[in-house]
Symmetry: C2
Subunit: 380 residues, 2 copies
């Protein structure tokens, strides 16, 4: 149950031995409705046809670096599903949120609890619902990030931009840092918000920008130091919870304090203030990365059965296609016949059906909001 | 049970008193799969949002002319569904086919049985799955057709072509016939097959052509005379069945003879040979007529709830539409969300889902044939 019992396969490397993985498994993935929804969020699905859920893939991607030194932060409603996906998790490895509070509270709680176990821990936080390949290249970047973090920095792993995306934030970096074991680490100048397409093109041309994939590696002490400075209320609440965590007051304190915590993303709570203080570095990752932001992504990512230009997902899917292309996700055993329809997205679940186009896949989120407003909560 | 007990509200008109309606209710309506299928063919659906099945509407359209003098010919599998739709039907009004044998056998059997009840009957045959409005204009045309038939002719009701259709056969007519009670009746020159679009345009310009809607009004004796000449094998088989119909040998003879009958459409078996013999007349119908040939037709015909340009059919349909147009048929209670998809056809049933476009709606038939070939009989 305690960290002493966990083994990290770092080969006795004193710095890597300090590394601890944190997986915040939150977020419904509303743009993937009706497949992803409150009861079965995105991270519990196999969205790549690999046979493995995104959550399990995330765990297995980290494990060669961390061994069992992985904390999972998720909603109390997902406890059973998460434990079924990750039978390796012990009670001490699972942080359950009473209600969703954004990444600031989730990652901050992990930092506060880990700091009380061992103040020298270097934590690395990685979302449970991203697709990354190959794992070895990812771990190479994380290893560099850990060495960089050990020099007293908050380190983000930046993704080489494949196109001028207007859907991601960017990280601007400049000079190399010359850190042993981290030849590619650079100083971060600033984080910038999702740009216009024109600005995104300029970012690509400049060569100074990487996509911000929300991966942070840092000493827990430094995370907490910046959290205390920029979000003292959040810091105080998390400290109170962490102090009670290993006592019989855990539930009482969690129930009382957690609902009062401010909702804020870790980017605003820690990363951006730390960048302004000159404390952030970036390690570029040359792995492929996809946040599976919508159903159009499934067409790109899927290695499942393809009928000509149609990506078909779902065990036991019975899809007949005639001159059609796009993405079909079948969560039922119904026959699905597509005739002469191009770039279509069809998502067939027991109680809800979505029909859209790959071009309009991003708009699913707004449609779900309208459904919510209209009172159709049974399918959300 | 006998014709003596049936009352025709013809006001004592000696010619109209001879009139008897025949409704062949066959044909699955494969282009309307998965809504229409073997177990629930097209005529058992309300495809216009009127609250009434096509079959019931057909019956009610004829009833003011015929009273209860209506024979229904359908498959034995549909007996219960048909009787539930038409509780007025007595045992003697229902001719049940052991297996489908095309319209020649179905209408020929009705003619043979009616001729044995009363050789002076003028029958009028009208498909159970067409949409016609208004009923009064339809009955005006039928009335003229009955008067024309009484002069010893097979009479078809031709539809004024609304556009150069390549999907219908045409009737070419010329000189008016000057028949009392039938001022619009004309002599038919010939029936012609579905034309090319260029030829269809020429037909429209000439003013000599009407759509062949498969409506035939004729003395039963004349129907049988032409059937005997052109299809002696079919005629002999039907005669044997009709002779046994009111005896205790009906089932035995039906079971033995019916399966051996040739499959042929009434057009080839009677109408075309009769036209070549100069025995066919046409009464033009100025009602609107639609054979609901595919799902695109539903958008034209439906008076059901419309969400902007989207036609939604189905009791309890829960459709959310964002910038979408087309036709949605919901046979389930599932939420159907459409986002940014135009001219789409979505047909949602318990075990099968169709997604196509109004433009490709005609191709549903071929897709169903492919499904059949692939062994998916459970949803056909």
């Amino acid at each position: 149950m305690s960290t002493e019992q966990s083994a990290a396969p770092s080969g006795g490397d004193a710095i890597l031995d300090r590394f601890y993985g944190v997986i915040p498994a939150g977020g419904i993935g509303t743009r993937l409705w009706p497949l992803s929804r409150a009861a079965t969020p995105k991270f519990l699905h196999d969205l790549t046809g690999s046979g493995t859920t995104l959550l399990r893939s995330t765990y297995e991607r980290l494990e060669p670096l961390t061994g069992s030194r992985i904390l999972l932060v998720t909603g109390v409603a997902h406890r059973d599903a998460v434990c079924s996906q990750l039978p390796e998790l012990g009670d001490a490895d699972l942080l359950l949120e009473n209600e969703p509070k954004d990444s600031g509270a989730a990652i901050g709680l992990a930092a506060a609890i880990l700091a009380r176990r061992d103040p020298d821990i270097i934590m690395g936080s990685f979302a449970a619902d991203h697709v990354i390949n190959p794992g070895e290249v990812f771990r190479d970047a994380v290893r560099e990030a850990v060495y960089t973090a050990a020099t007293g920095r908050i380190v983000t792993i930046g993704i080489e931009p494949a196109f001028p995306s207007t859907g991601f934030g960017y990280i601007r970096s400049n000079s190399p840092l010359d850190i042993e074991g981290a030849p590619n680490a650079r100083a971060v100048v600033e984080f910038v918000e999702k740009p216009s397409e024109e600005v995104a093109r300029q970012y690509l041309q400049s060569g100074e920008y990487h996509w911000n994939a929300g991966m942070f590696v840092a000493p827990v002490s430094l995370m907490l130091e910046h959290l205390q400075k920029s979000q003292p209320e959040l810091y105080d609440g998390l400290s109170e919870i962490a102090d009670a965590w290993e006592t019989d007051r855990r539930e009482e304190v969690m129930a009382r304090v957690w609902p009062t915590l401010p909702k804020i993303a870790i980017d605003y709570a820690v990363a951006e203030p730390a960048a302004r203080a000159g404390d952030v570095a970036m390690v570029p990752g040359s792995f492929t990365w996809d946040d599976v932001g919508d159903f159009a992504a499934l067409g790109r990512l899927n290695s499942a059965e393809e009928i000509s230009e149609l990506t078909v997902m779902g065990e036991g899917a019975r899809v007949f296609s005639e001159s059609s292309s796009g993405v079909v996700v079948s969560d039922t055993k119904r026959v699905i016949a597509l005739i002469g329809i191009e770039d279509v997205v069809v998502v067939d679940t027991k109680d809800a059906l979505l029909v859209t186009t790959t071009e309009h896949a991003q708009e699913v989120k707004q449609a779900v909001e309208r459904l919510k407003a209209s009172g159709d909560h049974d399918v959300l």
